[in-house]
Subunit: 448 residues, 2 copies
């Protein structure tokens, strides 16, 4: 659920070995190159889908051995680099979607999703459905909002416009509160809007992937409960779930939607979300029938409840391999406390942001404390253009993303630092990436 349509990645067809020379100028860089070969041109090891159930090795072992073929490092705000166990789970041999084996895997994945959302209240339900993050908007707009009802959409970038478009498609009436590019919507504006009329839902993009702006979900949710307690709190967590703190029960949220290919570290192909008991009650009492068939909560709620109870159920065939991969990744993620995972991402985010700023570059997200921890959006310096810069980075086997926000798309690039690339032990991804950015800027004629 991210564009990156400006990406100009044209990695070489040669193996990384062919690129060593660019690292040979100093001993440190030489070591870096060697570690790099361990990273992205690794030994081939026996492959068995049964390893899909193993716990994190490549994120915690001292000497990760990968089954992955050499490939450029994809360091965009999703899809991210995946662990070997997750990719091996994607290759799980065929299973009936109603076999006891798969029912158990799906049930376990749904139970672990609750942990990821810090949810224990069983009146809520987690969902994992074949689709994309975008489909989560359809679930909100076609089930929780009835035609003619008002939705307050907080705009911190590109994705609020799309969410509003989706709400309008199903007959809801979106009202956007737009922040200046790179900034947040002030709390007093939100409070005034909530007092002006009743909004059935408020939608908040936790991290807008087009700007890297981080919204303060906890504070906004508390404000909503105080000023308009019956307004459903909807969080677009596509670039935040798994990297930013989200306490679903404690913050009294109603619906958090996300996608697997960001901080959850699973290939794209799923719509993942959790709905509160309050949201499900609002849905059950709606007067109009749901506006969507495939995105109907009435079709999917019993299916998810059954699978979590380890009972086979059916509405539409689930993506068996993607669900195996989801379980494999959730086991790795939850092998350490979530607080430690958030802290590790924050540490890497600070390192990336400080290094970028030490190069004299500026972030799109202007307000300290409101900057995403899983990505950084950076303006290219005066005199450097994306079509010149990004291919030079790609030549160094690092894939970054171009701009996305239409008003500034040609003026900035984006770095994703989520998952194994950001917090995996013995990973050199960002030593390589930050050096590649520095060297490419030099090659573009930029002087530090």
């Amino acid at each position: 659920m991210d564009n990156c349509s400006q990406t100009l990645a044209t990695p070489p067809t040669t193996t990384p070995r062919g690129k060593i020379s660019i690292f040979d100028t100093t001993r440190r860089q030489n070591m870096s190159a060697i570690r790099r070969l361990n990273l992205i041109s690794q030994h081939i090891s026996p492959f068995s889908a049964s390893s899909s159930s193993t716990t994190s090795s490549s994120t915690h072992s001292k000497m990760p051995v990968s089954t992955q073929a050499a490939h450029p490092l994809t360091l965009i705000p999703g899809p991210v680099e995946f662990t070997d166990e997750v990719l091996q789970a994607m290759a799980t041999p065929s299973q009936s979607h109603v076999s006891p084996q798969f029912v158990s895997v799906f049930g376990d994945a749904l139970a672990l999703l609750r942990q990821l959302f810090m949810n224990t209240d069983k009146s809520a339900q987690a969902f994992a459905i074949a689709g994309a993050g975008t489909l989560g908007w359809d679930f909100v707009a076609s089930n929780l909002i009835e035609p003619g009802e008002d939705a307050l959409v907080l705009h911190t970038g590109y994705f609020a416009d799309s969410f509003a478009d989706c709400i309008d498609t199903y007959g809801g009436v979106p009202t956007q509160l737009k922040a200046p590019i790179g900034d947040i919507v002030p709390l007093d504006q939100i409070e005034a809007a909530l007092k002006s009329k009743f909004y059935k839902v408020i939608t908040i993009t936790h991290v807008d992937t087009s700007t890297g702006v981080l919204s303060d979900i906890k504070t906004i949710a508390a404000l909503v409960r105080k000023v308009s307690p019956n307004t459903l709190i909807i969080v677009d967590g596509v670039c935040s779930v798994g990297v930013e703190e989200i306490r679903f029960d404690e913050w009294d949220l109603d619906f958090v939607l996300t996608a697997p290919q960001k901080a959850i570290g699973v290939p794209a192909g799923l719509s993942i979300f959790i709905a509160s008991g309050r949201a499900l009650d609002v849905f059950k009492s709606r007067k109009a029938k749901p506006g969507s068939y495939y995105a109907s909560l009435s079709k999917w709620l019993p299916v998810m409840q059954n699978y979590e109870a380890k009972k086979a159920s059916y509405f539409s065939t689930p993506p068996v391999q993607n669900i195996h991969a989801l379980l494999a990744s959730l086991k790795q993620i939850l092998a350490i406390p979530l607080e430690d995972r958030f802290a590790a991402h924050e540490k890497m985010s600070t390192h990336v942001k400080e290094t970028i700023e030490s190069y004299g570059l500026k972030q799109v997200a202007v307000r300290p404390g409101y900057q995403a921890h899983g990505m950084t959006a950076v303006y290219v310096p005066e005199g450097v253009t994306l079509p010149d810069f990004l291919p030079k980075v790609a030549k160094r086997n690092i894939v970054l993303a171009g701009g996305l926000h239409k008003d500034i798309a040609t003026k900035y690039f984006r770095i994703g630092h989520m998952g194994v690339s950001a917090i995996g032990e013995d990973r050199e991804d960002f030593t390589l990436a930050l050096n590649a950015i520095k060297d490419s800027l030099k090659e573009c004629g930029y002087t530090f």
Copy 2:
């Protein structure tokens, strides 16, 4: 997009080796058991995602070597068994969804989809979108039918009821022509209905997975063009595309939707369809806005056109790994003429049906010539119950599906014979499956 919720597969946790004894009664069975070990307890070979682009080896080599872990044979009407190359493609390392590498893979997959549908008319467009076969119904109902418009739904089993439900969700008015269980809708009834009023679309389930009834798309399409030339011809090809003959251009069809986990031989997780120039024109001239956001043709048409032209484009992040797997499978499928593929499936289908009937069992699909070639629905004999029979088959490492049509669900089971299990060289899948069925019936006390 198949239920099989009656599946009672409980394969042993021991490896297939532990099961040899059941095959030791005759030399033939012993040989069968040995070949079987070659099939489902195979050597582990080096794994590299690069092999996702290789052409069919396991379906054409004399001695297939698999990277797949030992597992029960899934012989249901989808998901089917997958080739090694397809599973390896599912484990492709991360790639940006707008990288030149992935854009090329997606573009090639869309071009090969045209060949699968026997389409050369460029006014049509093929689509592959993260989702499920079910989502194809939403694309039809929310884009090609406007609120209040009539849809004629031919009912040959469970899935017509669901398609009608989907059409109703978006405001269309479905009228069902229902055939008796196991039979087809007579042409004269279809003609009378088409003459009674104008239907915006007619929907035909090519193979209803709940009954195994095969509809004669070619003849029905010709009738529609003669009687009601402006009615859009919609084919639900979920259990037919890749196994049954479909000539999209020659038969003048307007929309064929399918899913990957059946005869296309790719894990579930995609909604695949092709829309004719006529269908796209009807969509472009609709007065009401599309009823769905995620399933909007206006969002996806330019994206598919761009990817097929090898240009990056974005609406929602595509499932990179599933698309790699789709390309790998399409290359294998199209390595031989489609006519040969259809003939090979028909040969296996005849073998399965004749063997089943030689056991004294009866098919649900009663009319010769109107029986699916990728699956067989079979009534259990008098005195045998599914909860007794299916686990006995599963003990023999063969996973079959239970009944699905609600009126007869407890009275029949279903066998899927699509893809590599059915037509792969040196595969013993159906020697094993038919023996397992025979031995399990005996164990249930059935006398031949």
